[in-house]
Symmetry: C2
C-alpha cells in the first residue's frame, strides 16, 4: 500500500473546552502539573454517546490543539532550550504534524452535555474530538 490521495481525513469537533486557561504560555505542560478543572461542553448532537459516562470515572479525552504548529518535527522538550532537541514523536509537544491532545481526566460533574473534569491542561475553546474509557483488565471489558 502506498501513500495516495486517501491520506487526508476530516475530524469534527464533538464539543469545546471551557477553561480559565487562555494563553499557551500560562498552561501547564500536563494535566497533573497544576492544571485547573475545565468543562467539556459537548454538542447536543452527540448526547446519546455520553449517556453511560458517570461522575467519578476516569476517561481519556482527545482534543484538537488548534494553536499548534504542524510543520515542526524537532523540538526542545517542554520548550526548554537548555535541553537537547528531540524528535516530536518522542515528546508530548503540541507542535507536531497532527496536533491531537491526549488527556486522562476524572469526571467530577455531569449536567446534560456539560462534563466537568479535573485537571485539564487544554486551553479555553480547544475543540474536543473524542472521549474514551480507560481499559480495565482483559476479563472485565
Amino acid at each position: 500500500m502506498n501513500p495516495s490521495p486517501d491520506d487526508r481525513f476530516e475530524v469534527r469537533a464533538i464539543g469545546w473546552v471551557e477553561s480559565p486557561l487562555t494563553d499557551r504560555g500560562d498552561a501547564p505542560r500536563q494535566g497533573d502539573e497544576g492544571a485547573p478543572d475545565a468543562v467539556l461542553r459537548l454538542d447536543p448532537a452527540v448526547r446519546e454517546g455520553i449517556r453511560d459516562l458517570a461522575v467519578g470515572e476516569r476517561v481519556i479525552v482527545l482534543t484538537w490543539l488548534d494553536r499548534a504548529d504542524r510543520d515542526v518535527l524537532v523540538v526542545h522538550p517542554r520548550g526548554d532550550r537548555s535541553r537537547a532537541p528531540h524528535g516530536v514523536f518522542s515528546t508530548r509537544s503540541p507542535d507536531r504534524p497532527n496536533p491531537i491532545g491526549l488527556h486522562t481526566v476524572q469526571i467530577v460533574e455531569i449536567d446534560d452535555v456539560r462534563i466537568k473534569v479535573r485537571h485539564l491542561e487544554a486551553l479555553d475553546g480547544t475543540p474536543v474530538l473524542d472521549v474514551k474509557p480507560l481499559l480495565g483488565p482483559v476479563g472485565e471489558r
Copy 2:
C-alpha cells in the same frame, strides 16, 4: 464560544500499518488480546520526528480507523448483542464520530522509517496519525 465553521480539521497520515490482519471481523478487540506484531511504515517526510525513538520503548500510537462507521453513537460493547447497548464514548468501539484508534505498543525493531511494534490490533493499511511517548513521573519529564 459557539460551534462554527471552525469545527472541522484535517488530519494527514504520517504512515500506514502493515499487518497480517485484513478483516475487521478477525481482528482482536485490543492489542493485549492476541494481536500480532505489525510494522508502522512511516512517511520519509517525518523521519526527523522519529529520530529519538528506541527499541524496547513503549509508545502510544494514534491511528485513523478508516473502516469505521462515523454515524454511530450507541453500540453493543465488543459487538456482543447480548450486552446492553452503551454510548460510544463509554466504549472503545471503532464506530464513533471521530474514529481515532489509541494503541499502546512496544517498539521491537526500527529500520529507517519502518517501526516494528508488538501486539497491534489495527488492520493492514490503517493510516497512522501520531506517535507519543508514555509519560513517566512528573519529575522525570
